[in-house]
Symmetry: C2
Subunit: 228 residues, 2 copies
DNA sequence: GATCATCTTGACCATTTGGTCAAGAACTAA
DNA sequence: TTAGTTCTTGACCAAATGGTCAAGATGATC
């Protein structure tokens, strides 16, 4: 799947109204600022209401710009949505590291859980955007899910299986294990109103995240027969 | 939170166009059949697109009825949505059993996981409807989350803590444990396109569900220091 | 069969939606 | 300063939206 154009130029500028004849050029400060505002606003709106339920007017209001100004920069609702998904995927792809059978299972699994929880905390709206898109049937993400994400999962699963063969962890199903870690870590972004309602909090703080992360690391590693 | 009116009468009939002067009366066979069609269709549409993104026209098409006929039965989009949420909550409340410190932790946790997975399999759209509503900030569910669901979680957590004190399980955080079980079990409904895309399946079968359930039971119980 | 209630459903309505368009202001480079 | 580019933004458009309305068909009861 296409990664967003290289850092420095605008993520949308090559596809909307700045068709400079010199090819890809540096976006102006005004354009960069406004596009960033639009992307942030759009992420929140689409994360909350999905593609169909999110309106360009709501995005415009959240960005503090007139609707036609938003459309001037991004071209269309669809283009904006695709740009957002690509941004999200780029962020995730940066985390799709490779692991080896020579690595230590405890370290790898713990790092995996910790980095996912850190992402949840840093980018909750990205997680919600993904959740909304998948709830909607993932129409824009099929290639990604069936392509590089799947390859990554399968490669990681193979390493988990080899660890199990060496007796370094229990022979759990590695794919369900990966889903368990994803669901457990994303839950705190995706279902935040539930978490806050039930725990009586207004927000989760750094210390809460620390406790949750520690809890997940301990339980999942022990549950896998690692360092129990 | 209000539970749906008693079995036998229509879940919507008391609030839309059948204002019989004799009070609550048995709905006709036509009404029952059409209301059920509408509820099923609406559940799918709202689960996929959320409240804002789901349209009455789409629901009407999915139900095979004209839009104004749908509105004849349900009154408004909002009433329909509320009725759906109430139906979902009633289904969930039937599962909010009580446990005691004298129960066996292994049995209780395993039953909890198994029943949640069975619910995921039997009512995936209900799970997705809940997810969409929570992603949207849970505007219609705050009382439920902060009320009886919270009470249930707290009561269950207290029992978990007492088990830990008796050395029957590790002293894990009981609330995070409940969230872990919810997120892990609902994942297979809510993120089904992801699961299918990554595993290369067109659907999850009974055997898949069995394996996943067994995996979750084993890992989570072992991770809690129960019967490891 | 007559009467009343329920059901069906297209026409209609005000508002919202994703755009398109173009005038004028602001910015940039020579 | 001039010319060209970018940015701003209200007016406008066709289609979609959640309804409302009422005529006629169907169902139920006496």
């Amino acid at each position: 799947m296409t990664v967003i154009s290289e850092v420095g130029s605008s993520p949308i500028s090559s596809s909307a109204s700045s068709r400079s004849s010199a090819g890809e050029s540096e976006a102006s400060a005004i354009r960069q600022r406004n596009e960033e505002r639009i992307l942030e606003a759009a992420e929140a709106v689409f994360a909350q209401h999905g593609y169909r339920g999110g309106s360009v007017q709501a995005i415009a209001e959240a960005a503090g710009l007139p609707k036609s100004n938003v459309l001037y920069y991004v071209g269309s609702k669809r283009r904006l949505y695709v740009a957002l998904l690509e941004r999200m995927m780029a962020r995730w792809n940066a985390m799709l590291d490779d692991i080896s059978v020579d690595d230590d299972p405890a370290e790898i699994l713990e790092a995996f859980i910790r980095s996912k929880m850190a992402l949840t905390r840093a980018h909750p709206q990205g997680s919600r955007l993904f959740a909304a898109e998948v709830l909607g049937g993932a129409p824009f993400l099929q290639d990604y899910l069936r392509g590089e994400l799947r390859d990554w999962v399968q490669a990681r699963a193979r390493v988990f299986e080899q660890w199990a063969e060496r007796g370094l962890m229990d022979p759990v199903d590695p794919v369900w294990l990966i889903f368990l870690i994803w669901s457990a870590t994303q839950h705190y972004a995706d279902f935040e109103p539930q978490v806050l309602g039930i725990t009586g909090r207004d927000a989760l703080g750094e210390q809460d995240y620390q406790h949750i992360t520690d809890f997940l690391c301990r339980l999942i590693l022990k549950g896998c027969g690692i360092r129990g």
